[in-house]
């Protein structure tokens, strides 16, 4: 461990994590807090009840510039990027030629550029891939000197508005440039917890100072990666590398909604033949939510069987949902078993544990839509 720790990168909030008792673990090449003193359970519940501050500076941020940036990005993703108005943002996928998913990302139309946020573990590969597939006149600028903070929860707007009053008027999945005490920053109303919230991109040198201000607010508590995972699982959101990867297509992953209407008609993204074919003809398997009976969590990798003992699929994310107050999971099942209400068995430590197929999310999403 000690040798590995030397090779880990740190975020601009590293000192703050340690000061707040963060239990640091290696994650995607970074030393990150899996939890603080309160523990995963309290951190999760606090985010759903008030507001949680997450350091997501390990994620990749970039700008795509040039008059034809949206068209260029559309050659790599199935989302309708050209249809985004200024300030609008969208969840989309980088696909491969087989229709699999290279990564999932957020794209915001900023007028003179697109702002991208990609997963930490994929960022080097993503940026190399995007950079290698751009036409003349479109440029990828990787943003390395900015931190990224996520403030999530029903009281996030109240807390952040004390510093940036204008955030009160933003709706979910929009973004814009703001100033926090004269510091230029870019704020989106977005997140990955199922709650209302914001992501704040700001200069690395200013991040700790602003994080301290947010943490001084009564509603705000620091939240680690453990609760980030349980929050996104309850919200039914995919974790790249678990629930989606190069071998799963958007249709299998129940992310067909990310394939824009115009894009379905026009195609022209990697794997479009496979993906559009699957939208028409269906797939053999599908990502679903699973609610196990009893209290035992079914973890990623757990085999799923039909009631006759036949192979039915695999759990890709699973654990305990603190707000649900019970075990929840997501996984891929044969399409004939994908209908909500279907009964299956999860093979937990060799024993069949009955479970019901459901449509995620497992908790109500609390996004501010107007």
């Amino acid at each position: 461990m000690a040798e590995d720790a030397k090779d880990l990168k740190t975020t601009p909030l590293d000192g703050l994590h340690r000061e707040y008792g963060g239990k640091m673990v290696p994650f995607a090449g970074y030393s990150m807090p899996v939890q603080y003193k309160a523990g995963v359970l309290q951190e999760h519940l606090h985010t759903r009840e008030a507001a949680g501050l997450f350091d997501v500076s390990h994620m990749g941020q970039a700008r795509l510039t040039g008059a034809h940036a949206a068209e260029a990005l559309e050659t790599l993703v199935p989302g309708d990027i050209g249809g985004l108005n200024g300030g609008q943002m969208r969840y989309t996928l980088l696909t491969n030629d087989a229709g699999g998913i290279r990564d999932d990302l957020m794209v915001t139309q900023c007028g003179n550029h697109l702002y991208l946020v990609v997963n930490a573990a994929c960022k080097d590969a993503d940026f190399a891939h995007i950079g290698a597939n751009l036409p003349d006149g479109v440029k990828l600028e990787i943003i390395e000197d900015h931190a990224l903070l996520a403030l999530q929860g029903p009281k996030a707007a109240e807390a952040l508005a004390r510093y940036v009053p204008a955030v009160r008027h933003m709706v979910f999945l929009t973004g814009g440039a703001h100033k926090i005490n004269d510091i230029p920053c870019f704020i989106t109303r977005s997140g990955y917890t199922g709650e209302d919230g914001f992501e704040i991109s700001l200069p690395a040198s200013e991040a700790e100072g602003f994080a301290r201000l947010l943490l001084s607010e009564d509603e705000v508590m620091p939240i680690g990666l453990g609760a980030r995972d349980s929050l996104r699982l309850e919200a039914g959101l995919c974790l790249y590398g678990n629930d989606i990867d190069e071998t799963t297509t958007p249709v299998e992953a129940a992310l067909t909604w990310t394939v824009g209407k115009r894009r379905r008609a026009e195609g022209g993204f990697p794997g479009s033949g496979v993906i559009l074919g699957q939208i028409t003809d269906g797939t053999d398997r599908r990502r679903v939510g699973l609610v196990p009976e009893g209290r035992a969590p079914a973890r990623a990798g757990t085999d799923i069987q039909d009631l006759d003992g036949g192979a039915a699929g695999t759990v890709t994310s699973g654990g305990f949902g603190p707000t649900v107050d019970g075990p929840i999971a997501m996984g891929y099942v044969r399409t004939d078993l994908a209908k909500p209400g279907t009964r299956v068995n999860l093979m937990v430590r060799g024993k069949a544990q009955p479970a019901e197929v459901v449509k995620p999310p497992f908790v109500k999403q609390n996004y501010v839509k107007d």
Binding site: V40, L41, G226, A296, F320, P327
Partner: protein, 124 residues
């Protein structure tokens, strides 16, 4: 009354010829919030070092091993209703199971409290 420890962060308290087994305070701190515990049924045969119980936190599942060969005489039923006892009273009400070792003298092979404290000091 002596308490013994294993390198896997379990404690063993001998009550006559019965061994009460649980996980240490250090172990529960490492696990974090415990949300599910599966304890063995009375009458189950266990091998030394074999899996005897399962403890799951929000983060992950872990096994609890039988420190010695023998027969389970009782699993702690209270943990099914309140798994957080493992966090709040790891070396008390949060015990996992009681077992009758085939050879009660086997505890003499375990770490005593001083040796376990030395092990923890090395981990820091």
């Amino acid at each position: 009354m002596s308490v013994y420890f294993t390198k896997d962060h379990e404690w063993i308290r001998m009550e006559g010829d019965i061994a009460v087994v649980g996980i240490t305070n250090y172990a529960q701190e490492q696990l974090g919030d415990v949300v599910f515990v599966e304890v063995p049924d009375a009458g189950t045969r266990v091998d030394a070092g074999g899996e005897a119980a399962v403890v799951e936190s929000v983060k992950a599942a872990s096994e609890v091993y039988a420190p010695m060969a023998g027969e389970i005489v009782e699993g702690n039923a209270a943990l099914a209703d309140d798994p957080s006892l493992v966090n709040s009273a790891p070396e008390g009400d949060g015990w996992f199971f009681k077992m009758k070792p085939d050879d009660a003298a086997a505890v003499n092979e375990m770490l005593d409290e001083a040796a376990y404290k030395a092990l923890l000091a090395d981990l820091d």
